[in-house]
Symmetry: C2
Subunit: 254 residues, 2 copies
């Protein structure tokens, strides 16, 4: 069982889109996958067709009232289960009095509760911003995937992510390694995208995935139908790119 | 002096781009404007050409070590001053033991410290995520501008913003009113943008600004040169739209 967090404190860079579509592509290939929505905005939950009314989320697990296993819901998609999120999660973050103490809470809960289940991949969708939910999901992971838009602010944010990871490694014994940086929303019509990709490849050559996800409207439309791209438009460029990315992911993670 | 917060917990919807370019357009029209970067990722700071090394930020003010006035830096742009941000700000959020107690801290500090200064508009750029920094900047404001991308997740996030605002009004006496919802990154080539605009106008007709900001590469390029669009490319569509938006803003706020 491998735990992967999709994280970047910069907002709107494609974390949720990557979490959903990587999970769906893994499920399509027959890997048993659990998608965990750790973002109170619950976009990963609605992106696979569920609403907040299910009442299930990580929150009751974090405060010790429920078991993690009871929060798992099966989706209509083969091999893909979900732990949904809701707004309550934001409350947990504000209630922690000793932040460092709770950095490894998720890691402990996930590993203990999922022992004996058949999941091969657990994918965590992180919220933006440098808060406890994000830090906890990073520490819970074996590997980190950092999506970045091919735009300036996202590039700037990368240095902060590395800084955060360095600090984490000093504070907790089990900090994740970066599996790779995924360039998303690439727009071939502009120089900006090209420049950002070149910049990133130049500074950290061995960390960037070869696959680049283009900006396509089908990827932006899919969540409004509550479907991953593999079901919304399986023959689209967006779907092919996430399938190609999943191949590359599987090679790197072995 | 009017305090305006640019807020939306959804990431990447154009909060920083709107905060910078609204401030620049107000300054261009001769209004004395203070741009406050409340986001630890400090995009508004770098978007107007400053780096984190200035050492100035809100953080020392929040912990009572410095005066707000001493954190103000003047930018090369006439009538536009800045209070920069840096990563330390994220620490403040994790250190608060009684969140509700600190909801109105910013409001108190800003109003007391800026008495006697000549600023006509104070624009606060909020971080994504439902944390204390965002809540504090909302409570500090008279008015709220909520940018939303013309995409599905941003639309979904709107309901959560309204919910948050309702809750705030019950907790604190001084909660902001919504000045308007600004549709950003509109892509006329796709139906998705059109549908989202129609949806929003249908549900909350009187709250949506008439001006729609199109997705243009010049707006995405400007921050890498550390310039607002009014200086980076004053004749671009992106610049004209933010000038038009500023006209509408001034009419509404009177
Ligand atoms: N490759 C793509 N092409 C077009 N649109 C995309 C693509 N990837 C993501 N999007 C859209 O861009 C927006 C931002 O993506 P997404 O919500 O996945 O980012 P995020 O990093 O999870 O955001 P947040 O920081 O709010 O959690 C969404 O509306 C999404 O549908
Ligand atoms: N109208 C536009 N056209 C094209 N690109 C835009 C436009 N507005 C913003 N952008 C770009 O989209 C990205 C997201 O915008 P921005 O950073 O302003 O959003 P934000 O809401 O402040 O993000 P965060 O949630 O991380 O604070 C940035 O790379 C920005 O340059
Ligand atoms: Mg997301
Ligand atoms: Mg921003």
């Amino acid at each position: 069982m491998k735990f992967i967090s999709i994280a970047n404190q910069k907002g709107g860079v494609g974390k949720t889109t990557t979490a959903i579509n990587l999970s769906a592509c893994l499920a399509e290939k027959g890997y048993s996958t659990l998608l965990v929505d750790v973002d109170p905005q619950s976009n990963a939950t609605s992106g696979v067709g569920f609403s907040l009314d299910s009442g299930k989320s990580l929150f009751p697990v974090l405060i010790g009232e429920e078991l993690l296993k009871d929060q798992i819901i099966s989706t209509p998609y083969m091999n893909l289960d979900l732990i949904p999120a809701n707004l309550e999660l934001a409350n947990w973050e504000n209630q922690q009095h000793d932040p460092i103490e709770s950095f490894s809470l998720f890691r402990k809960i996930f590993r203990e509760s999922l022992i004996g289940t058949a999941y091969q991949y657990v994918i965590l969708d992180c919220p933006p911003a440098l808060g406890l939910l994000m830090v906890n999901s990073m520490v819970a992971a074996d590997w980190l995937i950092i999506p970045i838009q091919c735009e300036y602010y996202a590039l700037e944010g990368l240095a902060k992510m590395f800084q955060l990871l360095d600090n984490l490694k000093k504070l907790v014994s089990a900090a994740p390694n970066i599996l790779g940086i995924l360039m998303t929303m690439y727009d071939s019509r502009t120089n900006l995208s090209q420049q950002v990709v070149e910049d990133v490849r130049h500074h950290i050559p061995n960390l960037v995935f070869d696959t680049i996800i283009p900006r396509t409207v089908r990827l932006a439309e899919a969540p409004s139908y509550g479907k991953p791209i593999t079901l919304y438009d399986p023959h689209s460029i967006g779907c092919m790119s996430y399938r190609k990315f999943t191949e590359e992911f599987l090679k790197k993670i072995k």
